[in-house]
């Protein structure tokens, strides 16, 4: 039945194309010169009914138009017999009609399949076999040409949507591979899934460490401003079942696709297509491919996060070791770290630069470990030699951290965090933009920290006194732009509260 429908469609399209074929029209005109006043017809069925032959003929045949009922029937009957003979033999058949006029029927075949007929009538003289041979050869070529065009167009119609779908999958892969931040990645996967499947809601859940609960990690709901975040037990509802059985679970208005690496790590669930149609097997196929891409990106982001935790752990351990020498000097207070990173964010530093700034904020004074304790804690003015030792600490800091590859990008901040904006700092006397932005930020925050915390060599200032001091030195010691942002950050209530709590305990 399906084959029959396919054949019928093919046949219809073939005849539609033949009717529009310029080559066929030219052929009719050309052969019409030899056999005029003929008229041409096409029958788009291999076994036409009597009534179908009658209707194909009566539209054009002058004899049928003006003939009586009996004459008409006789004429169509004779032609109907000729068509049946042509159908059996699959060869051109010549005939003479009731009105003693001549014509022929030509079968349109491909291999063993007969699709229909082409023919002519109303010729006064019988057409010579030589002309018919040429006609057959020409028509055969034209039919083949039309069939080839049709097959090519069918091939194009089949391949193009698949190629477009493949290109979509490739684009999605590029879009989700470009971030290693899970907080950015998961909503992105959800939005892309919604877009591709034209759904209204997408939820991504990841399995917990005990493998019992699915934790909601990203939900995008285009109908509601507030997305619902629900935990789901493994085995319950469509997402839980998809995880339990490790295969997609599809219903009329939902499609849950498991995220499978070596084991199931989570599930992407889509709800409600915007055209209200049900999710199809094609949707399921697309989502399975997308989930395969997503799981790689998620695993990469998770590994990267683990790696970052390891790096941060090592840095904090190093700071802790250094801190045993002068407690409080190397493990930064959370408020100073927050101020430093907030300035970086306000100055539109990217995530990599912010990470370097964070590492440098923890270890910028690591080199002080090489300065004798008596010098570090000396309450009076340093001698020339002592000051030389202090000035060497940024280089010493770089020496300490240079073996940690993850800190490579933080080293310029560590090296130049005592440079002054006007060039009066150390170790290189760099000016303005010659000093890396991270180092300009670090210079200000570490100076501010030194002003408001207890140091042997200076009187502790209040926060407001230190702010005034920073303002006074903007443009000389500190970058004026960084100063402006620093003042803006310090006006934030949560920062001020955090700072006061850490410094004064209230």
């Amino acid at each position: 039945m399906i084959e029959e429908t396919k054949d019928n469609t093919y046949q219809k399209e073939l005849f539609d194309r033949l009717k529009k074929s310029v080559s066929l029209k030219k052929e009719e005109e050309c052969f019409g010169c030899f056999i005029k006043p003929a008229f041409w017809w096409l029958i788009d069925k291999p076994n036409p009914k009597f009534s179908e032959v009658e209707s194909a003929m009566s539209a054009s045949c002058p004899y049928l138009k003006k003939g009586s009922g009996g004459e008409r029937k006789g004429c169509v009957k004779s032609l109907f017999e000729v068509i049946r003979k042509c159908s059996r033999d699959k060869k051109l058949v010549r005939f003479e009609c009731e009105a003693n006029l001549h014509g022929f029927v030509y079968p349109i075949v491909q291999g063993d399949t007969l699709y229909g007929f082409m023919g002519t009538c109303y010729t006064k003289k019988d057409v010579s076999p030589q002309i018919l041979d040429i006609f057959s050869a020409f028509t055969d070529t034209i039919v083949r040409e039309v069939q080839k065009e049709l097959e090519l167009s069918k091939l194009y119609e089949t391949i193009r949507p698949r190629a477009i779908a493949l290109s979509t999958v490739h684009t999605v892969h590029r879009l989700i591979s470009s971030t290693l931040d899970l907080n950015e990645l998961l909503p992105r996967i959800a939005r892309l899934s919604l877009q591709i499947l034209r759904a209204s809601r997408c939820s991504i859940k990841l399995i917990d460490s005990k493998r019992k609960i699915l934790l909601p990690k990203a939900t995008v709901d285009l109908r509601q401003k507030k997305a619902r975040l629900k935990k789901v037990k493994v085995g319950r509802w469509a997402p839980g079942k998809a995880v339990k059985f490790g295969r997609p679970i599809r219903g009329h208005d939902y499609l849950a696709t498991p995220l499978i690496d070596e084991d199931v790590i989570g599930v992407i669930t889509l709800y409600d297509k915007i055209d209200k149609k049900p999710f199809t097997s094609f949707d399921q196929e697309i989502m399975t491919t997308l989930a395969e891409q997503a799981v790689i990106a998620i695993k990469n982001a998770q590994l990267y996060k683990e790696q970052e935790k390891l790096t941060m752990g090592s840095i904090k351990s190093l700071a802790k070791v250094l801190d045993t020498r002068a407690p409080g000097a190397y493990v930064p207070r959370a408020s100073f770290l927050k101020i430093t990173l907030s300035i970086g964010q306000e100055m539109k530093m990217d995530s990599n630069d912010l990470k370097s700034l964070e590492y440098a904020a923890i270890l910028h004074d690591a080199g002080e470990v090489l300065i004798p304790y008596e010098v570090l804690t000396k309450p009076t003015k340093l001698t020339g030699e002592e000051y030389r030792m202090v000035k060497e600490h940024p280089m010493a800091g770089v020496e300490i951290v240079k073996h940690m590859k993850a800190l490579k990008t933080a080293t310029p901040i560590i090296l130049y965090h005592h440079e002054n904006y006007d060039g009066s700092g150390y170790p290189k006397g760099l000016k303005k933009d010659q000093i890396p932005l991270g180092a300009r930020i670090m210079a200000l925050v570490s100076a501010f920290e030194a002003m408001i915390t207890k140091r042997a060599y200076r009187v502790m200032m209040t926060i407001d006194e230190a702010i005034d001091e920073v303002k006074k030195n903007a443009g000389t010691q500190f970058d004026p732009e960084v100063t402006e942002i620093f003042l803006k950050v310090l006006k934030r209530k949560e920062i001020r509260v955090m700072l006061e709590k850490e410094l004064y305990g209230h």
Binding site: P161, S167, T168, T171, S178, I196, L197, I274
Partner: protein
Amino acid sequence: MDIKNLFRSNIHLKIIKFFHENQNSIDTPRGIATWIGEDRSTVKDALEDLVDLKILIAHRATSTTGYSYTRDNKLISKIEKFLKKTNPA
């Protein structure tokens, strides 16, 4: 540029037609240029015009930008009517 003017521009029309026929597609400027047989840089500018008009959605990442079709059913119906007028067959 409003929607009516867009339909007078061949390149915008080609892009809209592509996405209207392939509403599940997300593609880069290069991919779209291939599908509609046009130059990539021209396509890139036209894509941004269509994003401004909310006919397309831009999915921006550091390495590339993917473009996809609007989800606004009213706008899609409007485009459908325009496309039928442009190409009644």
